[in-house]
């Protein structure tokens, strides 16, 4: 991680010890999935090491800035199994640390000198924040529909995936429109699938990491699967769902575990269609860039949606 932490000597000066501690805490334990994605692309495109380092730092900084802010907004006590920064230090430090990461992104990227990359990154940060804002305004909305959540997730979650796929090409000034269209759609689909899979963890589906159950629901947020399960239920039942203390109570409210299983099957089916669409766009990537990159991109849906080990 040290290579990601320091791109420019002015990143994380030693006279800010608490910021360094907070940062090291935050980054330890993270999978660095997005940085790995950048690595796959940069390796294929034979990007200079400095470029790869900058891109990896950028995406991890943006992602972690969003986590710092997200935990505070959601009042989440834990991050990667450890006390969240806003609790361990204080909310002010968590906000400032997130802001600092975003500021360093802009400093380092603008120094790189590719204005299109700077603009695209700024747009992604803007989308991310819009998505955060919109998602927060959906708390307590028990009648929210899946397509509306998809729009929010496209801003909040998918924007970073899109950036991972497109930024290496932009950094190397490769602007093929057909390719960027395919990458944009692939990023959207990966983000959507990742978010939906993450939402399923709340209901103990493919929850290999042992994430706490019904967290979203208890905090008044109907995530994508809750919204899908509740689509045929009346307003009264939807409000009852929020009161579920455990999964058994949730099953009871929706009509039994069989109903849940049927809904899960249907949910997986609609997402399988998205996976097929993703694979279709990978064909474009294969044609435009090469079979090796396509081969590495194909299993991503297995990892992100089906939660299978790489």
């Amino acid at each position: 991680m040290s290579s990601i932490k320091i791109f420019d000597p002015k990143d994380f000066p030693s006279y800010l010890p608490k910021l360094n501690l907070l940062y090291d805490d935050l980054f330890t334990g993270g999978k660095g999935f997005r940085a790995k994605l950048i690595h796959i692309f940069c390796e294929t495109l034979k990007a200079p090491h400095q470029t790869e380092q900058l891109l990896a730092q950028t995406i991890e900084f943006i992602h972690n800035a969003s986590l710092l802010h997200d935990d505070l907004i959601d009042r989440s006590a834990l991050r990667r199994g450890k006390t969240a920064a806003w609790l361990k230090y204080n909310p002010e430090y968590a906000v400032l640390a997130g802001d600092y990461l975003l500021a360093r992104v802009m400093v380092n990227l603008s120094g790189f000198g590719n204005i299109r990359l700077v603009q695209y990154t700024a747009e992604v940060i803007s989308d991310l924040l819009e998505g955060e804002w919109l998602q927060d305004s959906l708390v307590g909305d028990y009648d929210v529909k899946l397509p509306e959540l998809d729009r929010v997730h496209n801003l909040k979650t998918a924007s970073l995936f899109k950036w991972c796929l497109r930024a290496p090409f932009i950094a190397l000034e490769k602007y093929d429109e057909e390719l960027h269209h395919a990458l944009e759609e692939m990023g959207t689909l990966l983000g959507e699938l990742f978010q939906r899979s993450d939402d399923l963890l709340d209901f103990d589906v493919r929850n290999h990491e042992g994430k706490a159950l019904l967290g979203d629901l208890k905090s008044g947020y109907f995530n994508s699967f809750a919204s899908f399960v509740a689509e045929d239920l009346g307003s009264e039942v939807r409000r009852e769902l929020k009161k579920s203390e455990n999964l058994d109570q949730f099953f009871q409210h929706i009509g039994g575990k069989e109903v849940f299983s049927r809904k899960l099957e249907a949910f997986d089916q609609i997402n399988q269609k998205k996976i097929d669409l993703y694979q279709h766009h990978v064909n474009t990537l294969e044609r435009k860039v090469g079979a090796d990159l396509a081969r590495q991109m194909r299993p991503l849906t297995n990892i992100l949606y089906w939660r299978k080990a790489p």
Binding site: V144, V152, E178, H181, E185
Partner: protein, 359 residues
């Protein structure tokens, strides 16, 4: 959906037009897949190739021709018809029927042509409100619908021809609409439909131009009441356009549509909806004061004010532009406008029954 049934085409591809118009196969349809990337409609389109499907005739008929929207044109015609029956200025009844049918066919034809245009320009891929169910569900090809729209417009034109021959002054009223229609068809990817001033076109089409034109065509001539009537029906129609645009404020804004709601933003749009409705209520009550009996003034004033309260409350307290809360507020406002229109229709039915001596 298997991967082999998906196809992405660039707009420069020679086959692109065959797929977007649906002429590539008689048994299959190419459905452009929805995208959340609102600026992605310009260059490439991913199609899902599916077998043509035909539902029950009534479902197909009602949804393809958007029969539910016909009341927007029929209500003003009905009001003008009753007004002229009461004033004893109704000329040729057959001509009245022909003109009404002309309006119905033209409305269906224009709406269908609009949907095809949205499909060809790719707006139905990024905007949940754009497009026609017949295209989205593989019932018909865009070419089929385009041809149907031409037939409907031609039938509408033929049905309106007798009125045009007898009352050529109607040409003057229709001319601006023809010009706007042509401009819209030839303009950039969004057409004029998603711009602010298109709301005034809607106002004229479902308002004064419709009521004045229809009154002239049935031999009633021109008077101020028919202008007032048209202003009210046009105002009510634009109110519904505003509500739809308000409901889709986020998508419209992201897609770069330049309608009034997008230009005003969320908070000012809320105010505009409330003010728009208050002005309609005031206008309709004044219309009743001038052109109707005192009892109706009180009925309309009381009913519309009572109906406006929940609507104003629902819209004013709205704090977010996404999710179900905005849909619910828009539903309450839509119900208020439907209630007003129903009351108005009932009043006219009452007048007719009195005229016929039933009451």
């Amino acid at each position: 959906m298997s991967a082999s049934r998906l196809l992405t085409l660039d707009k420069t591809n020679p086959d692109f037009l065959k797929y977007i118009w649906g002429t590539f196969s008689a048994e299959e349809r190419a459905l452009p897949l929805q995208s959340l990337n609102v600026n992605s409609e310009t260059e490439q389109v991913t199609f899902e190739i599916v077998k043509t499907f035909r539902p029950a005739f009534m479902e197909m008929f009602v949804q393809t021709l958007k029969i539910r929207n016909l009341y927007l044109g029929l209500a003003p015609l009905f009001f003008v018809l009753v007004k002229n029956a009461l004033d004893e200025t109704l000329g040729d009844e057959i001509l009245a029927v022909f003109s009404a049918l002309a309006v119905i066919f033209l409305q269906m034809g224009i709406e269908l042509a609009n949907d095809v245009q949205d499909h060809v320009r790719g707006l139905d891929r990024v905007h949940p409100r754009a497009g026609n169910p017949a295209l989205k569900k593989a019932w018909f090809s865009a070419r089929d619908l385009k041809n149907t729209s031409w037939v409907l417009i031609a039938v509408g034109g033929c049905l309106g021809l007798p009125s045009l021959i007898i009352f050529p002054e109607i040409f003057v009223l229709l001319l601006p609409l023809f010009v706007l229609g042509f401009w819209g068809a030839l303009s950039d990817r969004m057409g004029f439909k998603y711009r602010s001033w298109s709301e005034w076109v809607v106002f004229m089409m479902f308002g004064p131009l419709l009521t004045i034109g229809y009154q002239i065509s049935i031999g009633g001539g021109f008077d101020l009441e028919v202008v007032a009537l048209g202003c009210l029906t046009g105002w009510l129609t634009v109110f519904q356009v505003h509500l739809k645009n308000f409901d889709q404020l986020m998508v419209n804004s992201q897609a770069g549509f330049n309608n009034t709601m997008v230009r005003l933003g969320f908070e000012k749009s809320k105010s505009l909806i409330v003010i728009w409705w208050i002005l309609f209520v005031v206008g309709l009550v004044i219309y009743q004061v001038i052109y109707s009996q005192p009892v109706w003034q009180w009925i309309f004033a009381a009913a519309l004010i009572a109906g406006a309260v929940p609507m104003i409350f629902a819209v004013s307290k709205l704090e977010v532009s996404v999710g179900s809360r905005i849909h619910k507020a828009v539903q309450v406002a839509t119900r208020a406008s439907q209630f007003a229109l129903t009351l108005w229709v009932l009043q006219n039915i009452w007048f007719l029954l009195v005229l016929e001596g039933v009451l």
